[in-house]
Symmetry: C2
Subunit: 480 residues, 2 copies
């Protein structure tokens, strides 16, 4: 047995390393690469993916998995080896249906499209972007057609980001959320609160300094965790994006080192990843204990803006509920509807009920229906996110799944660390980080997202704690 | 025939793409990667190299090359296809002798060593660096032992950087240079000239601005050419490093696009690469016509330093001959001895005549003998370059080979473009760039370095024009 397992591990190490090199190339493309380099980059990324795919779907992988099948029963199902075989079989069985050329072409088209997206987003020109998006959808349709035994086609796409989670389950969860969020937004929206101090003069350098202070004060050693943040000199809202990225970074940093070269050493799912980023962004970053500690430093950093704003007003400002156009700048209460809108539109397109040429109209209509806002242009509407350009269709749902999970995890944290809020007020983040490491991060990808969540919190996905948290934090009327 | 050739091209495309991805990883490691990331990076780079090597040495490559052998005769030897088969056979026959594990380990050790070098260089602590260097040499010894039919072991190392060039040929060329350079340095060294205006206050931002102006004024479009330059706020000498890197960048940019994914689309050799960088750094960047054009901009950029320094004094300052410690800051006349010293020491080690523990002493002795300088510490001595840390042993010679070639190329340029200097004075670089593109860059790696040089200039490597140029430019006595 050791032999087949060792051979499988060697093969998967190669697959995993290639995937990680691909991630460095992606990060480089978003940050350092001259735009004209896209064509080389698309070729190189496609070649890497081609080799990765071929290595995974090789007959030899199947043979090793077959050989291991008879002997798996003797392994502790919780052991790394059992998890590895499970995950490897899952990855293999999905990948082996997909021709290498298609897989490489999906990567190539995505890398190419990102460059086109930047230009068309700057120009706010959906029509110019449309052929690119059509191409991405066409490739996903072909991808979906590689599978014939599915309940609905969107399952295949979603599963790439949130494994073993069906569209029907997400739809049901989102239906519950939508039913409550729409009236909750109407009740909680506060158009009068004065948060004008959050706009004005926030020098980028000072923002960077402050962001580094909080991120490194939180003390995570790093090996090679890259964070990308955009600073806008007119607002400090990117502070919350940095907290968000810190959550992702900490998760990556605390993944199980001894499994680093194997697929089970990767993150569990994008939903679990988002549960970590949203936890740091919102449960920590928009909380009173955090700012009790940190607000004096923020005042020192931006004296012109914040000197005369007391803590309560600041906390009120950063938690103002107000429907708006841009998802990544949305408050906690309205955020979910931005995601639900995208999740619905993706399915409308996959099912042929909305043509891509009609997407901007469909987008604007839903924004109006769900959030009551008028979309002035495509840059602030349908072109605002890079995901569809990269071909990441089926991805958006994980933002809201993760947000829901983040509150489930937070409740368990409050049970397990009784003085968590006092610790945060004192600037002590060690217990929090260690808890997340032990209960979430160190599982890597050994278990499904739902099983990972169950192990951490005792429950699988449940939107109720999230809705209860919003109601309590924002002082809503008690639910009917 | 098309079939075997097409298959060979597909295989080599993969090899070439992997090599280029490896280069992005290298650049990233030198510029963006957090130092703690070295271990992942070493693993990932080694995995890429492993796959690249396996793909190249696969039985199938040999079979395709065999199949093509009979039919090669019918191809025009100057054609891309004939060149591709030649170069592929050469690469294959060299690589197939080398076990994949060794090849991967060489890459891994180099990536690891670079991080160690940074620390030991900062600490100026050779002893701390020694085990790393010993490991690199040990791996190169094993590499050399893979080949049994060589005149001398160093040939194998040199050939990786300067293909089809023997140690004996380089030794002979360097002997000619050394015999003339040592007395020339003694004659031309000028310890009295006042170039104090070149040290002082050169704000990094202003340096960056000026560098970008000249590099982009030179107008090369770029696809994805990365330049790394260090700016020192106390001197503007990094301007010449930027010119140097521009020369490399232009070469990379003008390589034949239609061969981009094939090994013949790569640069010819490091020597040819250096001929391009040294040409822009010295023949352009330290010339009177260039500064006739550009000096007023430099004065505007650094008014405090240069306002009261007239052009003649400035040109005298940037061309001051003075033996010094650091190769990359050396003037044109002393530069060669820095290279010869390294070339000699590498061979002393390979032949076991100098132990690595005795390297700092041997270094310091030769610096004294060749340049008359005392080395105060290892950071300014044996630890100054990163090459040996990366395992690049056999590399240094190419700097001087390239410098010699740059003058041969320049002479031909002056023959072909009679008003070249006037064009430079007017800021017109198009004819120069186009000539280099047509006569050097667009050959890629189709021919050997010597053949490439012969096609561009009519002659193979010859140190005489270089020595004559130095004598003339620096006003030496007529040679005996």
């Amino acid at each position: 047995m050791a032999d087949a397992l060792t051979q499988l591990k060697e093969r998967l190490t190669r697959v995993t390393d290639l995937e990680r090199v691909g991630r460095v190339l992606n990060w480089d493309q978003q940050t350092m690469m001259p735009p004209a380099g896209w064509e080389h980059r698309a070729d190189h990324s496609a070649t890497l993916r081609r080799i990765q795919h071929e290595t995974l779907i090789a007959d030899e992988t199947g043979r090793l998995l077959d050989e291991l099948r008879g002997r798996e029963g003797s392994l502790d199902p919780e052991s790394d080896d059992a998890a590895l075989i499970r995950v490897a079989r899952r990855d293999y069985e999905k990948a082996v249906r997909v021709p290498t050329d298609l897989r490489a072409e999906m990567v190539h088209a995505g890398a190419k499209a990102r460059t086109i997206w930047i230009k068309t987003h700057n120009d706010s020109d959906f029509e110019q972007f449309r052929p690119t998006l059509e191409r991405n959808y066409e490739l996903r349709q072909r991808y979906v057609e590689c599978f014939d035994d599915v309940d609905e086609p969107y399952d295949i796409l979603l599963d790439d980001y949130e494994p073993e989670t069906s569209t029907a389950e997400v739809r049901e969860t989102f239906a519950q959320l939508k039913a409550e969020l729409i009236p909750l937004i109407a009740e909680l929206r506060n158009d009068d609160i004065d948060d004008s101090f959050l706009r004005g003069n926030f020098p980028v350098e000072a923002q960077e300094r402050l962001a580094k202070e909080v991120v490194f004060a939180s003390g995570a050693g790093v090996d090679d965790i890259r964070i990308t943040t955009n600073y806008d000199p007119e607002t400090m809202k990117s502070f919350f994006s940095t907290m968000h990225e810190y959550g992702h970074g900490l998760y990556s940093h605390q993944l199980p080192r001894h499994l680093e070269h194997l697929p089970i050493g990767n993150a569990c799912s994008l939903g679990i990843h988002e549960s970590q980023s949203r936890l740091w962004e919102n449960l920590v970053g928009r909380s009173r204990p955090f700012w009790q500690l940190f607000y004096p430093r923020a005042q020192e950093t931006f004296p012109e803006q914040l000197r005369n704003v007391e803590l309560d007003r600041f906390i009120g400002g950063i938690n103002r509920v107000q429907p708006s156009l841009i998802r990544i700048r949305a408050d906690e209460v309205t955020y979910g509807m931005h995601v639900i809108l995208r999740f619905e539109l993706e399915q409308e397109i996959i099912h042929g009920r909305v043509a891509i040429r009609d997407l901007p109209g469909a987008w604007n209509e839903k924004m109006n229906e769900y959030l009551g806002v008028e979309v002035p242009n495509d840059a602030q509407g349908v072109l605002q996110d890079t995901h569809w350009a990269s071909g990441s269709i089926g991805y958006f749902a994980t933002y809201l799944l993760g947000t829901v999970m983040s509150v489930q995890i937070w409740q368990k944290l409050l049970d397990d660390i009784r003085d968590l809020e006092e610790q945060i007020e004192r600037g002590e983040f060690t217990a929090l980080r260690d808890w997340l490491g032990e209960h979430v991060h160190r599982c890597g990808r050994k278990f499904s997202p739902q099983e990972t969540l169950r192990r951490a919190t005792g429950a699988t996905l449940d939107p109720k704690p999230y809705l209860a948290y919003l109601r309590e934090k924002y002082g809503a009327r008690v639910a009917a």
